[in-house]
């Protein structure tokens, strides 16, 4: 399946990656070659083959409903770029 300029821009927007037009052109090229390589999958007959999400056939373990995590806000916010009064700051959110 071919990938076009608009597809790259769309993916970049969904992934919130700032990309200018020249970047996008370069990525069209790279991504086309990668997808051509990936396209070999399409020739494989997978009729009736169940998808494999995990390499082991294991099931989800469950955790007891207990509060085990203490308040470590100060430690966690030491690596934060912008905080005030315990809140993470971002440019104003408009709804």
């Amino acid at each position: 399946m071919a990938i076009e300029h608009a597809d790259v821009l769309r993916a970049a927007h969904l992934a919130r990656l700032g990309l200018d037009n020249a970047d996008a052109d370069r990525y069209v090229d790279d991504l086309t070659r990668i997808l051509n390589m990936v396209d070999r999958l399409r020739e494989v007959d997978t009729e009736g083959v169940a998808p494999l999400a995990h390499p082991l056939d294991a099931t989800q373990p469950l955790r007891a409903d207990e509060v085990t995590e203490p308040d470590r806000r100060d430690v966690y916010q030491r690596c934060a770029p912008a905080v005030s009064e315990g809140l993470y700051l971002v440019p104003r959110v408009v709804e």
């Binding site: 993916a11 990656l17 990525y27 083959v49 082991l56 373990p61």
Partner: protein
Amino acid sequence: MLDLTFAEMARGLAAGEFKSVELVRGLLARIERLDPEINSFVTVTRDQALERAEAADAQRARGEAGVLAGMPLALKDIFCTEGVRTTAGSKMLGNFVAPYSATVVEKLAATGTVSLGKTNMDEFAMGSSNENSHFGPVKNPWDHSLVPGGSSGGSAAAVAAGLVPAAMGTDTGGSIRQPAAFCGITGLKPTYGRVSRYGIIAYASSLDQAGPMARSAEDCALLLNAIAGHDPRDSTSVSRVVPDYTRDLDAPLDGLKIGLPTEYFGDGLDPGVEAAVRDAVKVYESLGARVVEVSLPHTDLAIPTYYVIAPAEASSNLSRYDGVRFGHRCANPLDLEDLYKRSRAEGFGEEVKRRILIGTHTLSEGFFDAYYRKAQQVRRLIRQDFLDAFDKVDVLMGPAAPTPAFALGAQSDPVSMYLQDIYTIAINLAGIPGISVPAGFVGNRPVGLQILAPHFAEAHLLNVAHAFQKVTDWHQRRPVQD
């Protein structure tokens, strides 16, 4: 004393031949001397290391030390280490001091090992040459014009250069085994789920697995003993008994049945690599093993499958780097969109962006079934190849990489770089364990023999690798430094 294997060094410490502080001082001096050129460390934790070494020596003096107390090692900079900068080779995390430690780091610390620092790597573990690091490329200690392999290139180079006797790596598509092969050391990727992923900065969650990189299989066994086991913080870690991986190292190989996958000896395999691998197989025959040819028919689909699944998972795993709670944040964002787009554009390197774009595209509406679902189906076929093969043989053997280490800057095309992992990637898709052991040279460039075993058969895998190292000395060879 500094050039002993990890296991020999541990025995020396136990016998009182030297102290941990002496080892650590000696290695730190070597790092200071050699690493400006090799660039295998991103961060050296000198003070903490000396402190821990002293504590370990004191513990030993009291007679309370375990086997690994005071043993120096290094951690790939993908393991979160509380209070220590943890970058994943990315500008995005250039200033990220981890507020907690990975389970592997905690387990290693509990045994008394001493970390000398964090090793260089391809950004977010995406790469096969270590050229994708924000902190600059790593040089192969055997020839500084060559790459060390990737993504755990810093760990491999540090061990090969004798800067540490062992280092921890992670392997998503070959990132332990390929650099181990390129640098002439021993690297083990355990079964998926054998070692906790908690605190390891995620690349592709259904493929990532941590493992030891050291001089010998015996070294790897000692380290796997320390890090393996169920972790209640990792849903995908397995609650299965952890054996003593050193116990069966010396078991005889009588009747061992080795499979050589036809597909691992085809076009594109360097003749020098093939010759070294076939010689290694002959050594096994001389030890009493039987060799048969087997087929892994879906081998050529492993790379296409991987380049759907890994980027898809990565595109989602890397969404958390948004400039809000940690990591790089652009200057003066105009609005929320600008904050996201510029922080991420500035913080991520080329290869990471490429994989985020591929992953985002293949998961998006209208493409999911053709790419992601299809890849998951083929993944099952690839795993089945291995299950079928292990019905016939005990282990599989082949090259770890199609060529020996290549020159820095030689692979500029992403797709041809991806083909580097042709013999390692399927192993992650299937979740089985694999090890690369030094098996000769092409010129001055090391060759790695890859040995594969069924799920959770690490003890046997290490036994088979150790038997080879008892009768060969490839793993003892050292590059000349200075």
